[in-house]
């Protein structure tokens, strides 16, 4: 009972960090927030691992910490240093509007989650609502931001949301599948960083 409530706190912190990400115009802060968000996700997985006592979930916790909390932010910071792009993030809409829009997306995801839960698929209803909201806000980040670098943050947020939803449905995926997904993500981040560097060099955008 208490474990469940503490797990809810970690999930809420994921949503709070995404909303903060929408409101903040600094790229460095956004990467730090992503790292924090992944750490909260890892803690949520760890609580599941303790609760179900499954070795798969322990493995998943370790992999998440290594890849999402340490490696991906490290590479993003390294790329940021090379590109020397420490300016503020440009958005197509103003920040207060974007934040209010994120709030309305949360409302929408709440309505959708209620409909889906009525169909009888056994979702953890709290986790599913929050992960849907995180997914939609991540998509909004990708749409509204102008530069490639800040769109990557949206992409990573969407990935975290899917990860969260998957962990809410099952008692953890097989370790091999999770390793594959994370490695996929890592490679895509590497490719995107190389792309940014080359774009910078050739077109100086």
């Amino acid at each position: 009972m208490i474990m469940e409530k503490i797990a809810e706190l970690f999930i809420i912190l994921i949503l709070v960090s995404v909303v903060l990400n929408v409101s903040s115009p600094f790229i460095k802060f956004a990467i730090k927030l992503y790292s924090f968000q992944s750490l909260m996700l890892a803690f949520y997985i760890l609580m599941g691992a303790v609760h179900f006592n499954s070795i798969n979930l322990y493995g998943s916790f370790v992999i998440t910490v290594i890849f999402k909390v340490i490696l991906i932010p490290y590479f993003l910071f390294k790329t940021l240093k090379k590109v020397k792009m420490d300016k503020e993030i440009d958005m197509y809409i103003g920040i207060p509007e974007a934040v209010v829009f994120a709030g309305s997306l949360t409302l929408l995801s709440n309505l959708i989650a209620q409909k889906i839960i009525k169909t009888g698929i056994t979702f953890g209803s709290f986790v599913f609502t929050i992960s849907l909201a995180t997914f939609l806000i991540g998509a909004m980040l990708m749409i509204t931001r102008k530069t490639l670098f800040s769109q990557i943050i949206g992409f990573l947020t969407i990935d975290n949301a899917i990860f969260l939803a998957a962990n809410s449905i099952t008692h953890g995926m097989p370790l091999l599948v999770e390793l594959g997904v994370l490695f996929d993500l890592f490679v895509s981040i590497l490719i995107l960083s190389i792309l940014i560097l080359n774009l910078r060099r050739n077109f100086a955008v």
Binding site: I12, V19, S23, S24, I95
Partner: protein, 324 residues
């Protein structure tokens, strides 16, 4: 002792203890900030001395001032005092606990701001109008999140009065954490969200550093100070005391949301009082750290922060409607 007489005595004692402690908390924050900057700093009880000095000084009013200037400071301080009469800081049965509706509390805060800005404009100086305009710019942005915080507290606990709300949270937490009874109504996530939201609002409403800096008198940075620039003597003293009371109101609500411990009888009162003061000091340290770490923000960046507070309270309301 008669039960009602007990409520009367301890409710009155609670009210006077909070009112007397209010300048101490403000002074404590000021002292912490000054020590962090490497200054020696004022004494913790300096604000009591200032208040005493200001009460003795002569009151100067502008020749354009009307009767508004005479009544406004008193309405401001009385509206905060009324809120403090309602809050169950460490004794469960506060004096006005019966009529402590959450909407009433939110609008008493707005009433105080309204009369403070009226006072600023009534004096007929250019700075007054500027300060009033800026004050409302911030208040309009933080008002929705304040109302949403109170309404989601009411929905979450299914009670309208603030004494019942905090007693419900205390009972739920005690059941869940101490005796392990399963009750679906208790949640950690919702109070936490409300706490963050209220923290941001209290920074903006109490003129703290990322939004406003009340220590300077530059016209560029004046929000709160521009309103009371014309005040002198007794009026200035009342306004400063009112600002300490406002800080205490916000801190008390925050401490009650996160960790409510209210005494129900005499034997629990000393422990409850000690816990209350400890909670307040921790909150003071928290806000002092925020003020030391952050630089003053550009004025037009304030809506970014306050919109986050609004959305977090909205999310808390959605979750409490769903009944998590």
């Amino acid at each position: 002792m008669n039960f009602n007489a007990q409520h009367l005595i301890f409710g009155t004692a609670q009210f006077f203890i909070i009112v007397v402690l209010a300048p101490f908390f403000a002074g404590f924050i000021h002292k912490l900030k000054q020590r962090a900057r490497g200054q020696k700093g004022i004494g913790i009880f300096q604000f009591y001395i200032n208040f005493n000095k200001l009460l003795k000084k002569e009151l100067v009013l502008s020749k354009d001032a009307t009767f508004i200037s005479d009544i406004a400071p008193h309405i401001v301080i009385v509206s905060y005092l009324v809120i403090l009469l309602m809050l169950p800081a460490f004794y469960r049965y506060s004096l006005l606990g019966v009529s402590s509706d959450v909407i009433l509390i939110a609008y008493s805060l707005a009433l105080a701001t309204f009369f403070m800005t009226l006072y600023a404009m009534d004096q007929g100086s250019a700075f007054g109008g500027l300060g009033a305009s800026r004050e409302w710019f911030l208040t309009v942005l933080s008002e929705p999140s304040l109302i949403f915080v109170f309404i989601s507290l009411a929905i979450y606990t299914k009670h309208g009065r603030i004494t019942d709300i905090f007693y419900f949270i205390q009972k739920g937490a005690a059941n869940a954490f101490l005796s392990g009874i399963h009750s679906g109504a208790v949640s950690i996530a919702i109070p936490f969200l409300l706490f963050i939201s209220l923290f941001i609002v209290s920074i903006s409403e109490n003129a703290r550093i990322p939004i406003d800096n009340p220590e300077t008198h530059l016209e560029l940075t004046m929000f709160h100070e521009a309103n009371i620039l014309e005040a002198s003597g007794k009026h200035l003293g009342i306004y400063e005391y009112a600002s300490y009371l406002k800080l205490t109101v916000f801190f008390t609500v925050m401490s009650l949301i996160l960790f409510p411990y209210m005494a129900a009888n005499i034997s629990q009162i000393p422990l409850a009082l000690i816990i209350y003061v400890l909670k307040m000091i921790i909150l003071c340290i928290l806000i002092a750290v925020v003020e030391i770490v952050n630089p003053k923000m550009r004025v037009f960046r304030a809506p970014n922060v306050l919109s986050v507070s609004f959305i977090l309270s909205l999310i808390a309301m959605i979750l409490s409607i769903r009944g998590f």
